[in-house]
Structures are given as C-alpha cells and as structure tokens.
Assembly symmetry: C2
Homo-oligomer: 159 residues x 2
DNA sequence: TCTTGACCTCAACTTTACATGAGGTTTTAC
DNA sequence: GTAAAACCTCATGTAAAGTTGAGGTCAAGA
C-alpha cells in the first residue's frame, strides 16, 4: 500500500542525493553529519541510506544554527534531546528552546552591539577614535584588563 | 618629554604581553593577527613589537566580529579600509559600517528566525513537527529544493 | 540484461584559527 | 651587571568542518 505522498509522486523516504538536493548541502556533508550523530538513516538491503522526511527539517535547522556561529558539537547536543527518527514532540522543542534561548539572546545582543558601535562611531562627531574611546563601552571593558570575555555574557558549551 | 598618559603611569606604547593581557587574547593570536594583516606594530631596536593603544580597539572589534561568526578574512578586509596605525576618521568608520550593515542586519534576522522558530514550535499546539512543517517558513524553503541558500539573503565575501 | 549514474567505505587532503615548543635574543628588575 | 621574564622566528601540531579520490557495489531505465 502506498502512502498519500507516494501517490502524489513524492517518495516517503529520501536517498542521500535527494536530501542533498532538497536541503542544499553536499552528500559528503550529510555523511559527515551522520557520523557526528546529527542525523540518522535507515539502510536498504543494499546498504544505501534512506532518510525520513524529517531529516530536511533537521538539516535546515543545522545550517541556520551554524550560520549564526553555533558549533556542530553544540548543535549535536541540542539535537540529541530530540528523538532521532520520530517526529519531535512539543516537550522536545521546549527543552531545546530553553537550552538555547539564553545563548541566542546573547548572540543577538552581541550583534547589536557590534552594529551600534559602528553607528556610534559615525555619529559621535569626533574625528579621533582615540578620543571616542573614552565613551565607548566596547574597549572600556577591554582596557580594564578583563578582556573580551566581559563582553561575552556567557560561555558557549559545557564540555 | 613624557606624554600625559606616561605621567599617569600608563605607557603610550604596548608590548605584545600588555596587549594580550588587556585585550584578553593570547600572544600567539596577536602574532597571528599581525601575520594576517589585521593589526600592525612598530619594532624596538631589539626587534620587539610595540603597539599603539589603538590596537586595543581593533582587537576588541576583531573578537566581537568573530564571535558573531564573521571570518577573519572578512574582518581583515573590513579593517583594511581603516588606517593601519593612525586613528580612524569618521569617514573611515562610515565606510566600514556601510559595508557591514547589510550583513549584520541579515545575521540578526537569521538569529531571530532561529529563536522564533523554536518558540513557534512550542506555541503552536500541534504535537507533531511533521504537521507543523506546513506552516513553518524554515523548511518550506528547503523543501522547495532551493536549499538553505534561500534563507541566506546575501553572500558573505566577495573573493 | 546490462550499463550508467548514484551509492558505499575509508583514507588523505584542505582551510581556518590558532597553540606549542625549540632555540636564541632583549628587557627589566634587583 | 646579571638573571629571570618576556620577547623573537620558524616549524610543527590541533580541532573543526568538511572535500576529494580510490576502489568497489547498487539500482533504475532502455
């Protein structure tokens, strides 16, 4: 018996090539993600990978998270909280969200600070960065000897 | 004749160690940044590096930019627009800001999307991600076969 | 059936962003 | 003025995130 998707010409399982095309990543990257435990697959009799459609969401998630500077290991441990193959439940997402919320908020703040610093330095009217330094929070902190860590509200990973 | 800073016990030039301590980075990282042209130094008679205080701002800038996922080569080309040793002018900052504004805004949007996706999946009330997918912009795009590039409004570097 | 494109594993290579160590020189502090 | 701390260069190592290629297997269409 065919699923509704299959009747519509959409296969219910995907090969690596399918996933690569649809998710916009390379086959080798998918192999790599699987080796690192970020995604998983079933195998055919002939040992070829078959992915459930769920993997598309996972891969999209992985790429977006990477794009904003989150390391694969951190993404992996976040995804580890989700069921590997079945569809994640509401509770699963709640856990993931709670774990990341602070980090994401911090990254947003960081980005805003960088952007605003640029704007500030344009708007402040002084011609010398060296003078402007007196008002600038960015290296006020750095010059207190604390180093940029101070700007980084939290640590990233708990390895 | 001593500068005012020196009279206050603050040397007007800094050694690598000084910069490392005050900027919160390692000496080897400073060497590395210099090799890549992100910072520059004068040398003493004995070939030791001496930095102007300006470098602290540069290093802080570099670290914050890195933190939000910008590659050193991109940071380098941005900083290349600024005068190497003298204090940057207002126009210098304006150029840098203009060049980065779009990218920073995009990264912010990206981050917000990731965060909101998590929130959405909690709030939407459905228990299955697979169903929720129908409304979720994140992999709607991915499933149209365009790949995550579609989510990334622009390209990063123009090498 | 048979061939051609897609897949498989595994090893080796690449790039980025540094860290580490060897072997030698300079500064600074007493 | 000397010893320890800091600095120098250069070579090599490391971790992350893949890519590339060799050598072989699987599957789908004519």
């Amino acid at each position: 018996m065919k699923t509704r998707l299959e009747q519509a010409g959409i296969p219910s399982t995907l090969s690596v090539g399918d996933v690569a095309r649809r998710a916009g990543v390379s086959v080798s990257a998918l192999h790599f993600y699987e080796a690192k435990g970020l995604i998983s697959s079933d195998r055919t009799e002939g040992n070829q990978r078959r992915y459930s459609r769920d993997v598309l969401r996972r891969v999209a998630f992985i790429r977006v998270a990477q794009r904003v500077g989150i390391a694969l290991t951190d993404i992996a441990s976040a995804l580890a909280g989700l069921p590997a193959t079945a569809a994640p439940t509401r509770a699963d997402w709640a856990r993931l969200s709670a774990a990341w919320r602070a980090d994401l908020d911090e990254r947003m703040a960081q980005l805003k600070k960088l952007r605003d610093t640029l704007d500030d330095c344009i708007g402040c009217g002084c011609l010398s960065i060296d003078r402007c330094r007196l008002r600038n929070p960015l290296d006020k902190l750095a010059e207190q000897g604390a180093g940029p860590q101070r700007l980084w509200v939290g640590r990233r990973s708990a390895d």
